[in-house]
């Protein structure tokens, strides 16, 4: 297990996963930030959250998506960003699964506030979200020295760590 985690290729694979997830989150938050009212209706359509929480969610969630997406792209506090993305993906997956199991004919509201005819939720949506959840967990678990600001700051703060062979010897 340790050897598996030590593989240096993880940094590159995780970078690809981060760029992919970060872009998705930046794209997803755009319409929500632009029109929180429409996003609030999207949330209400799930019929899961109490009414008093719906607007707060619509106001806060897009900005958390924006920050997490930016942090993933920049490699800034990457584990925290991956943790946030994983948490949000788990939350979205559960919400969509509940809606699908109820038989609600609706759109997920992930990338645009639109009707069910354009983008209906289905088990495929759940599978897609679960694959993104897996990617976020992959980054969280294996990306130990993320390429980006984290690595630059880490190297700057600890200059002797650039040559690990000498450190270990």
């Amino acid at each position: 297990m340790r050897r598996l985690l030590d593989w240096r290729g993880h940094a590159v694979l995780a970078l690809a996963a981060r760029l992919y997830l970060g872009t998705i989150f930046l794209v997803a938050c755009t319409h929500k930030i632009a029109d929180p009212g429409a996003f609030a209706i999207d949330i209400a359509t799930y019929q899961i959250l109490p009414l008093g929480v719906v607007n707060l969610m619509a106001i806060v969630l897009p900005w958390v998506e924006l920050l997490a997406g930016f942090m993933l792209l920049a490699g800034l506090r990457t584990r925290a960003a991956a943790l946030l993305v994983a948490g949000m993906m788990a939350m979205f997956t559960v919400a969509i699964a509940i809606a699908v199991s109820k038989g609600l004919d609706m759109s997920c509201g992930c990338f645009a506030s639109q009707g069910s005819a354009e983008d209906p939720i289905s088990w495929r949506t759940i599978a897609r979200d679960m694959s993104w959840l897996c990617l976020a967990l992959y980054v969280l678990v294996v990306d130990r020295l993320p390429i980006g600001i984290d690595r630059m700051l880490g190297a700057a703060g600890q200059p002797r760590s650039i040559n690990p062979s000498k450190e270990q010897s």
Binding site: I33, G52, N55, K102, D105, E167
Partner: protein, 175 residues
């Protein structure tokens, strides 16, 4: 400095899970503060707590079965062992309907009474052909699906509804 070496070798993450949790919490708080500020400043901001329920329209799950379309000119429509079912309103049914057509008005809000479904099931017909208003959605198609979902076999609906059926009846000289 074995700790640094371990981090670079990938054995230990740059940030521990506890640090990541702390950072994540800070991001959530930061996101909440930003969102609240932006919402308060924008002209079309929404109230933080919604007082009245949102008017959401989510169609109820359709429990219907599979009911293919059939052309009004299809000879099977006019065979003796076919039960024709009129899904239209009473007024439209009175205006015109084929002889022996059973009137079962389709209601978009209420399910068809079980007694009507049992009557159709007990008819002994080889097939059930439903015709409606031919609109979009077509009441005939909706009723046909509902009947198929209720277990009635070999249910079809007339494509184009009563208007096409009336034309076909006139062509065939059917009453």
């Amino acid at each position: 400095m074995p700790g640094v070496a371990a981090r670079v070798a990938g054995r230990r993450p740059l940030h521990s899970l506890r640090t990541a949790l702390r950072d994540a919490l800070i991001v959530v708080l930061g996101g909440a503060a930003t969102g609240a500020t932006v919402n308060a400043l924008r002209s079309h901001g929404i109230p933080f707590v919604q007082k009245t329920a949102y008017q959401i329209l989510v169609p109820c799950p359709e429990g219907g079965g599979d009911a293919p379309a059939i052309a009004a000119s299809d000879p099977a429509v006019w065979q003796a062992r076919t039960l024709l079912v009129d899904a239209r309103t009473a007024a439209l049914h009175r205006r015109w309907h084929p002889r022996a057509a059973l009137h079962v008005p389709f209601d978009y809000l209420e399910a068809t009474p079980p007694a009507q479904v049992r009557r159709i099931a007990a008819s002994g017909a080889a097939r059930v052909v439903v015709f409606g208003d031919g609109g979009n959605p077509d009441s005939g198609e909706q009723l046909a699906r509902e009947l198929a979902g209720a277990g009635i076999r070999n249910v079809r609906f007339v494509e184009g509804g009563a208007a096409r059926l009336e034309e076909a009846a006139a062509t065939r000289g059917a009453p």
